[in-house]
Each structure stands twice: as structure tokens, then as C-alpha cells.
């Protein structure tokens, strides 16, 4: 018992829950926007990877992590537009196109890593995004150790969740996005440009995924490794479903998955079956997806291409 108390009472566990959640929260939020407009964006995994690579690339090139972040978002945005064009205009199967993007991203980033940086990997002097350390924040009990000394992207993520909720549920554009994902024909007859709204949804998911990728490569580390996203794009989709396609829900679910990851670290040292403990985040994902905690209903037109009459 005292061992468990030591684990759960340690603020480090909760702080790392938050930092491990960020690369899930951002794409889960992104997926919420994409799927709310009716596009299943499984390509977020690949877009994240591209974001991660170009963040390091531009950061090391200019020795400025902010340029790295911008480069990541632009590269991720380009990838998202290509995906969106195939999924929306060409009406290709969204899951297949998404998988293609993921395989492409994995190959492209591995190739670029080797051709640009060689076998030594990315430069060790690649600058990282800053961690924020406010002494006044650190002195607040509980909240201080939890929130202080995190990457700046952690704070940005928290802001984006709130902004995302406001945008989706309290703006005209948000209403239109939700309408398009439920019944694109109805939106079309109400004079809404369905394609434009769907591009917007996918683009937002691309930006947020790229941001998550940059967080992995220049937020918590300062290097890029092959396939470093390690399925987080998919887990984020699970978080989004578990969170019922809402920003706060996705955030909560991503936190749960982040907690499972954070928990597996101290448990590994205290429990014998190390490999079993490492499975924890994935077990939680599966449990969430098979409907523990109620059935969730997807947007009615999620994943269905739309073709306007001529």
C-alpha cells in the first residue's frame, strides 16, 4: 500500500501525465475538427511525423526553435491539404488515403533523415522550444509542481483546447462545421460550401497534428528519430472517439491515456512484469474503444465523401 501511495502521491506522476498527454491532446483535438466536418483523418499519424521532422530540420537550420515550429506547421499543413484534396475533391476512401499518407510520411522522413543528417542523426545542438519556469507558479501547492516548468507547448495546448471548444460550439463557423459533418446535403441546400468547410476541418487537424509532432521532436527532445510518433496519431483518434468528438472530451480521454503512460514508468521499476505494464496505455485505449464508459455516436456523415449535384 505504501508503495502505491508513493507512486500516486508523487507530483512527478501528474506532471508527466500532462506532458505525455500533449502529443495525444493536440491530434485528438485536430481529429475532432476534421471528423466533425465529416472527414476521418487517419493521416494525423503521418502528419505528426512530418511535423516532427521539419521542426528539427528548420530549428537546426536556423538555430531558432520558433522557425522550427513554423516550418513544422507549414509542412503538416501541406500534407493535410494533399490528403484533403484526395479525400474531399477526389472522394477517395478516406482511410486508405490516410494510410497511404502515413506510409509515405514514414518513408519520407526516414529518407530525409539519412540524406540530410547522415547516420549520426539530427545535430545535438538543435535548439528546443523553451520550458517556462515561473517561481511564483512553482510555489502554489499541487498546481505549481503540475504546471510549472513545462514546455511552452503544454500551455499553448491548454489554451487551444478551450479555444477549440469555443470555436466549435459558439461560433458561426463551428455551427457550420458541425452541420456539414452531420448532413452535408442539408448544409449545401442552406447555401454552405461543403467542400470549403471540410478543407478547413482537415487543415485544422493538420496544423494541430504537426504541432504535436514538433512537441515530440523539439518540445521534449531536440532530435528526430525514425517513426518517433509511435502510433500516437491512432491513439489520439481513440481519445477523440472516447471523448465523443468534443474538445473537452478528447482532452480528458487523452489525459487518461497519458496517465496510463505516465503510470507505466514508475510501475516498471516496482512491478516484475515490465512488459505487461508497458501495455497499459494500449489496454486502456482498447477498453475505451470497445465502449467502456458508454456508447458514443459519431457525426452522421463521418467518413462519407460528398458529391454536390450538377
Amino acid at each position: 500500500m505504501s508503495g502505491l501511495l508513493a507512486i500516486f502521491g508523487n507530483m512527478q506522476l501528474w506532471a508527466s501525465t500532462l506532458s505525455l498527454s500533449v502529443p495525444l491532446v493536440l491530434p485528438a483535438l485536430g481529429g475532432t475538427f476534421s471528423e466533425r466536418t465529416g472527414v476521418v483523418n487517419i493521416a494525423m499519424e503521418g502528419i505528426m511525423l512530418i511535423g516532427a521532422f521539419f521542426a528539427v530540420f528548420f530549428s537546426s537550420l536556423t538555430m531558432n526553435p520558433w522557425v522550427g515550429l513554423l516550418g513544422a506547421v507549414v509542412a503538416g499543413g501541406i500534407m493535410a491539404v494533399i490528403f484533403a484534396w484526395a479525400a474531399i475533391r477526389l472522394r477517395s476512401d478516406q482511410v486508405i488515403i490516410g494510410m497511404a499518407v502515413n506510409i509515405f510520411a514514414s518513408g519520407l522522413t526516414a529518407y530525409l533523415l539519412n540524406t540530410i543528417f547522415g547516420f549520426g542523426g539530427t545535430p545535438v545542438n538543435t535548439p528546443m522550444l523553451p520550458h517556462l519556469n515561473w517561481p511564483w507558479l512553482g510555489r502554489i501547492p499541487v498546481l505549481g509542481p503540475l504546471l510549472n516548468d513545462q514546455s511552452i507547448l503544454v500551455y499553448i495546448t491548454l489554451l487551444l483546447v478551450v479555444a477549440g471548444h469555443f470555436f466549435l460550439f459558439h461560433t458561426r463557423l463551428g455551427l457550420r462545421m458541425r452541420a456539414v459533418g452531420e448532413n452535408p446535403e442539408a448544409a449545401d441546400t442552406a447555401g454552405i460550401n461543403v467542400y470549403r468547410i471540410r478543407y478547413l476541418g482537415v487543415l485544422i487537424s493538420g496544423f494541430l497534428s504537426a504541432l504535436a509532432g514538433a512537441y515530440l521532436s523539439i518540445g521534449v527532445l531536440n532530435s528526430f528519430e525514425v517513426d518517433m510518433t509511435n502510433g500516437r496519431g491512432y491513439i489520439a483518434l481513440a481519445a477523440m472517439i472516447f471523448g465523443r468528438w468534443t474538445p473537452f472530451g478528447s482532452f480528458g480521454a487523452a489525459l487518461l491515456f497519458g496517465f496510463a503512460s505516465a503510470l507505466s514508468m514508475p510501475l516498471q521499476s516496482s512491478v516484475a512484469a515490465k512488459n505487461l505494464v508497458q501495455m497499459l496505455p494500449y489496454v486502456v485505449t482498447i477498453l475505451a474503444l470497445i465502449g467502456v464508459g458508454g456508447k458514443s455516436v459519431a457525426p452522421a456523415a463521418d467518413g462519407v465523401p460528398y458529391e454536390a449535384e450538377k
Binding site: L175, A190, G191
Partner: protein
Amino acid sequence: MGTPAAQGSKTANQPPILELQHITKRFPGVVANDDVSLDFRPGEIHAILGENGAGKTTLMNIIYGLYHPDEGQVFMEGRPLNLEGPHAAIAHGIGMVHQHFMLIPVLTVAENIVLGSEPPGFRFDIRRAAAEVKKISEAYHLEIDPWAKVGDLTVGLQQRVEILKAFYRRARVLILDEPTAVLTPSEIEDLFQIMARLKADGIAIAFISHKLDEVMQVADRITIMRRGRVVRTLLPTETNPQELANLMVGREVVLQVKKSPYRPGPVLVDVQNLVVADEHNYPRVNGVSFQIRRGEILGLAGVDGNGQRELIEAIVGLRPVRSGKVLFAGRDITGLSPRQVSRAGISYIPQDRQGDGLVLNFTVAENLILKDYNGPQIARRGRIDFRRVRERAQRLVGQYGVAPPNPSLLAGNLSGGNQQKVILAREMGLAPEFLIAAQPTRGLDVGAIEYIHKRLLELRDQGKAILLFSLELEEILSLSDEIAVIYKGQIMDIVPGDKATREGLGLLMLGARKSA
């Protein structure tokens, strides 16, 4: 009844607000609209009457900017319109209530109504939207709760939301595409009241329908379309339903069913004390018993939702039977699988022809073999013989007059009437001894209804048994030899068809015992 039409004449001399000139629209293989010219006047209900597939909906979609005409021009108050999309039509004061509602069930009434034309600003001001919806609903006397979720509303109220959507956008021309198809009789009366009020407010109404009596009741002018062309424009005072039906179909139509005398044979179907539950385990059929003889049509009358669906699905094996028995030709078929039931000689026309009757993404030919694709007529050693599939399809499509007569079209591309003919062809093609027809003519036009009624009576005269479930009392009365009235999952009474009256059945349908 009939009063709204009388008020029309005073506005009939006004200049038209909307005019169509020489509209032609072609789709691959079909001319949907062929040189159509029409006009709509303020304060007038102009009915467009025609069978399914006559091109009415295509024409309205052109007015609403969903389709672009290949030739011709639309004018609004004398000025040519360039309708490159619904937003352009909306901007010019054209509103449309589609046959399949364009609503989003998970959103509120207010959100649905203002969608696409929300109060200005980046933020969505839901309170202001609700207030504006409230104002409009009061101005047009269309009571509605702006905060209700559309998915929770009845069909009639959903239609009201659609109408309000048009007026929120300041529509001066309102297109109603088959608005009565989904409504109950009392909702239809409400709608006609609403239409009369809108007319008095100077709205031009385009009323698309294939129901003769409704058109006669509400229209100020009637235009009949057939095969994409305008056949004639008439005033209701100078015509009658028989003439309209003939013009619509293009030949002499029999509105009254001709039925040979009832010659009952031995009992073929014997349902005993059947109890069936719905998917929530709630009992919907509570001890139903009836018999059907050879050469008999048993009509199952009742208000929708009194266990008809569950009863029929239990007989054909789609739903488990809790207790009771179904005997068919002396054999107990209770609890058999749908395939076994079908093999036993029972055919089934489901009420949802698109959901349960057909695979819309399959061709007509493929749909025609759904029940016996693995049977000896079609398959050989486990392989489908497509030569035989084509032969059967050609034969049945010709025999049942499916239009267009092309078996390789997707079933989803046919009109409702022709979809029903495909189902009929498949089910009759199995040479059933017992046919269950659930709402076989729902949503169909006069020509198709006449055809299906004829086929059902033929089957009866061949000595087969038929169970006919219909919500249309007229249909039950004109076809049935015996009429069973179901109420809350129980048979209230079984009365001979020739002794039944509308009033008597109506009382039984509402649960009043022993008065037919």
C-alpha cells in the same frame, strides 16, 4: 375542406413572380425536363402533378439552383436569374422544402433554421437566433419551440421547421416537394391550413404532388407533367380526378379496383396466439390469431405502430417469436430462418423497400436473384451463372414493366414505383403460395398503384393467400376479402371486406370493441 382553392382567383391576374422558359435538362440516357415553360404567381398555389419520374423534382431542383439546366432560362420578376447554387436561389427569395427533409437531427430548431444565414458576427449568437426564429414563427402562425432538438420532433413539426427555414431567408416563392407523402391525415389538414395562410400573405407556392384529391383540394392552377414534358395546365374547376389521372399516366386509368368474387379455398395460413416483442424486449404483439384461406386477401388495418411490423417480421422469420405458432399448409414454421420461410413458399414485400427490399448499390439483375442466388435456377456447383441471371432479369423486367428496361442499372437509380416493381418481380417470381405485402404502394403514383393492385388480385385469383398490411384504409377496403383490425398488438375484430365501413374500421383501429 376545399375552401383554400376558392380564394385564389383574385390574385390570378397578377404578373408572375417566377417564370421558367424552355427548360431542358438531360441526364445520361434520359431527358428529365424537355422544353418546360411554367410560371408562378404571388398568392397562388400552383400544383405540379405527375407520376414519379415525370421530372417534377428535377424541375424544382433547377429552380433551387441544385441542377443547372442545359437549355432555357429562369426569370424572377422579369429578370433572368443565374442560379449557380442554392445560395443564389435563397438570395433571390426562393425557398424549398425537400421531400427528404434537409435537417440536422442533433441540432436545435433554431440552429437548423438559421444555419447558413446566421445572425452576423464571428460568435454564433444562439439567443438572438432563437429570438428571431420565435418572431418568424409567430408572424406566420407556425408555433415551434426554437430550443427543441429537431430529432425529437414529429415529422409534421420537422416539416414546419423546413417551412420556417424558407421564411427566415425571406422566401417569396415556396416550393413544396411532395409535402404530404410523410404526413398523417391530420398533419396534412394542418399543412393545407398553413398553405392557405401563406397564400393570403402573397407567397407563391409550388405544390409538387402525385395525389389527385389533394391537388384538387388546394390548387389554384394545375400543371400536369409526363416524361419530362408539360402535358397541360388546367384550373381545378374545369377538370376532375379521372381526367387528371389519365393525363398523368397518358392512358385511361382505372381508379376503382375491379375485383372478382371471393371464392375461399382451404385454410393455408394459421396464426395461433402469437406473442412477439420488439428490440427493447417490449411485447408488441399480444396473442394474435387469424387464418388466411387460399384465394383470400386478408387486410391488416390499424394505426401505425400497433404491432403490424413486429407481427409480419415474426411470420417471415426476421424476429423471434416469444410464444404461439405459425402453421403454413399444416406445417409448423414458427422460428424458421427467413431463408427457410422463403423456401417453404412464402414471399415478402417489406415496407421499407430501400432499406429492406433492395440492395440499392446492386443492379436490378442482382437484386432479382437475392432470394435464390444459390438455388438450382441460378447457381451451378456453387458458381453463379451470369448468363441465367441476365436471362431472368430481361424476362422479369419486361414482364413487370420496369422502366427503364435495363437490368444493369443500379436499383438505387430507379424511381420508387419501379423499385417496387423489381421487388414484386423477385417475390412473385418465386411462385409463392403465400405473399405478405407490407405497405406495397406507399409513396407510389397512380399508375404504379394500379399495377400493383392488379398483380395482387391476380395472385389471389390463382388461389394463393395474401396478407396485406396497409395504413391506407382505402387500399384495405378495396382489396381485402377479410379485414383484421389490430390495436395495441391485439386483433380487435375480423370483419368481411364487403361489410366493413370506414367508420366502423376507424373505431376499431382506435380500440373500440364490437361496433363494426
